[in-house]
Amino acid sequence: MITLGHYLVLSALVFGLGLYAALSRRNAVAMLMGIELMLNAANINLVAFNKYAAPGAMQGQIFALIVITLAACEAAVGLALILAAYRRFETTYVDDLHLMRW
């Protein structure tokens, strides 16, 4: 029997992995993938809560659908910015973007 707890543990794991990737990876594209994981962890939560905690209305599922769309927009904008920076710096490693410090 799969309970709400299982989903919450799964989403916490996915969120933690995503956060770890976003904070520890230095390659911009890999960081973007970490952020996608974080957003999807929230989606798992939203859909699971919709099923177990608030089964009457569809708000959780609608929220998840909107987040999926937004994640696509965010990836598009992020990749565009990474590409613009790549043209100037010829690297996708964020540590090499250091014209400004303290």
């Binding site: 608030a54 909107i66 904008v77």
Partner: protein, 479 residues
């Protein structure tokens, strides 16, 4: 449904779409037309927003969108900062050929629409949408000078910090939804009230990651100096006033309506003290004016957070904490946009952002230097300028709510900030320049500086009508 109640939003949406078309048909030499139409359109949006101030508070679209004096006040703040920023942007792009000048004007108008929605959202879904709308536009705006390496770097850094922050906030939203069984803030309020405090503290901290990022609250402030320095200066101005104001609006609504005070007052009080101190201490040694203003903006987020926590700690229905925050934000819009206006003028005249290069600015460009003096005095909180009253009411609210220690930290920090704000004034008037030739700011910049400095002084000398305005706007917060 009465569409008149969302007239400002409808108008801003139409204005942005119309400007996209205008931008397409104007030649690359005359992109300023887009900016002028945008500024005029934003000025027109003030009319219905002003009318909404008197409307009774209500919720629209199934409870997802609030129409109250609080939201109307932030519509006015967003439109005014949009107008000032558009003027600053037109001054910035004068004799500086840029590939995407027209798009920047259009995006600023759309950003105002996003800020308006942020302040009025009463549902987690809509709030998240509005915040992402604003965020995506600001990432693009920060990186919009593609020929400038610093701007590209700022865009990437802002994007990564922002995306992680909003994903964290979304994760917090998902727990609020799970615990309350609804995405509506006004339904969440009573349902969250009885839940165990540790859970609520975790949820509040996750949500604060997103909204604290936008207000540059420590420890979510690391992006601020790099993005402020690298982004085109008018965009920096918009981030420092527009985004910050709307984020405070969203923060106030979420904290005040949905989350019980026990979950966040003590956390935020400590963060407020840390934010002020970190911002001011790091600002002391800055040699780049945009970086200095970035740390100053962090410090001011800390001051304003005093009002946010004073609101919760004070049981009186007067809500003096919110009133203080709203007044502070209004004053900060004029003061900080004006300061960035001077920075734009100095970039054009001196070709530098370094504070030592401002030497002799007082003799070379007397009007800009005088305006800068007004703004620096206001940022320090010295009468007769606008932020003096802002700070006074913030510290007063803190004392009233039994947070005397926070007021003391704030006063000490203000004294500390005197050093670096007046440092700029000293360089402009006292130090001997290498070049003494008079330099002209240009008509547009002059108009912007006179308007901003005038408003800063008016708010400082004759604050009564504005105090009445913010009191009216803060009373209706609860709908």
């Amino acid at each position: 449904m009465n569409l008149g109640l969302i007239a400002p939003e409808l108008w801003l949406g139409l204005l942005g779409l119309g400007l996209l078309l205008v931008e397409m048909i104007t030649g690359s030499e005359s992109k300023r037309v887009v900016g002028w139409i945008g500024a005029a359109g934003l000025a027109l949006a003030l009319v219905p927003s002003w009318g909404l101030l008197g409307q009774p508070a209500r919720l629209m679209f199934g409870g997802a969108y609030a129409v109250d004096a609080f939201a109307a006040f932030f519509k006015i703040v967003a439109a005014v900062s949009g107008i000032l920023v558009l003027l600053a942007a037109m001054a910035f792009f004068r004799d500086r050929p840029a590939e995407h000048e027209g798009e920047v004007y259009v995006l600023i108008v759309f950003m105002v629409l996003g800020l308006v929605a942020m302040a009025a959202a009463a549902d987690l879904i809509l709030l998240f949408l509005a915040i992402e709308f604003v965020s995506l536009i600001s990432y693009v705006l920060a990186g919009s000078l593609k020929a400038d390496a610093k701007s590209s770097e700022a865009g990437v850094k802002y994007f990564f910090f922002g995306a992680v922050a909003s994903a964290t906030m979304l994760y917090g939203f998902s727990y609020l939804y799970g615990a309350g069984g609804s995405t509506n803030l006004y339904q969440l309020g009573p349902r969250l009230a009885g839940l165990p405090t540790p859970f609520l503290v975790v949820a509040a901290v996750l949500v604060l990651a997103g909204l604290g990022f936008k207000t540059s609250l420590v420890p979510f402030h690391q992006w601020t100096p790099d993005v402020y320095e690298g982004a085109p200066t008018p965009v920096t101005a918009l981030l420092s006033v527009g985004s910050k104001a709307a984020a405070f609006a969203a923060l106030l609504r979420v904290l005040y309506v949905a989350l019980p005070p026990g979950a966040w007052v003590s956390v935020l009080a400590v963060l407020a003290a840390v934010t002020m101190s970190v911002g001011n201490l790091l600002a002391l040694s800055q040699q780049n004016i945009k970086r200095m203003l970035a740390y100053s903006s962090i410090a001011h987020a800390g001051y304003m957070m005093i009002g946010v926590v004073a609101l919760a700690a004070s049981p009186t229905p007067m809500g003096s904490g919110v009133t203080a925050v709203l007044y502070y934000l209004l004053a900060y819009v004029f003061t900080n946009t004006g300061a960035f206006g001077v920075v734009i003028a100095a970039e054009r005249l001196l070709g530098s952002d370094a504070i030592p290069d401002y030497a002799g600015f007082g003799r070379r460009a007397p009007l800009a230097a005088f305006a800068m003096t007004v703004f620096m005095l206001s940022l320090t909180g010295i009468p007769p300028t606008a932020l003096f009253w802002g700070k006074l009411s913030l510290f007063g609210a803190a004392l009233q709510s039994g947070l005397g220690w926070l007021a003391v930290v704030g006063i000490l920090n203000s004294a500390l900030s005197l050093y670096y704000y007046l440092g700029v004034v000293r360089v402009m008037y006292v130090q001997v320049p290498a070049d003494t030739a008079p330099a002209s700011e240009g008509l547009l910049t002059r108009a912007l500086l006179v308007a901003a400095a005038g408003a800063t002084l008016v708010l400082g000398i004759y604050p009564e009508p504005f105090v009445r305005l913010v009191q009216h706007a803060s009373l209706l917060l609860r709908v």
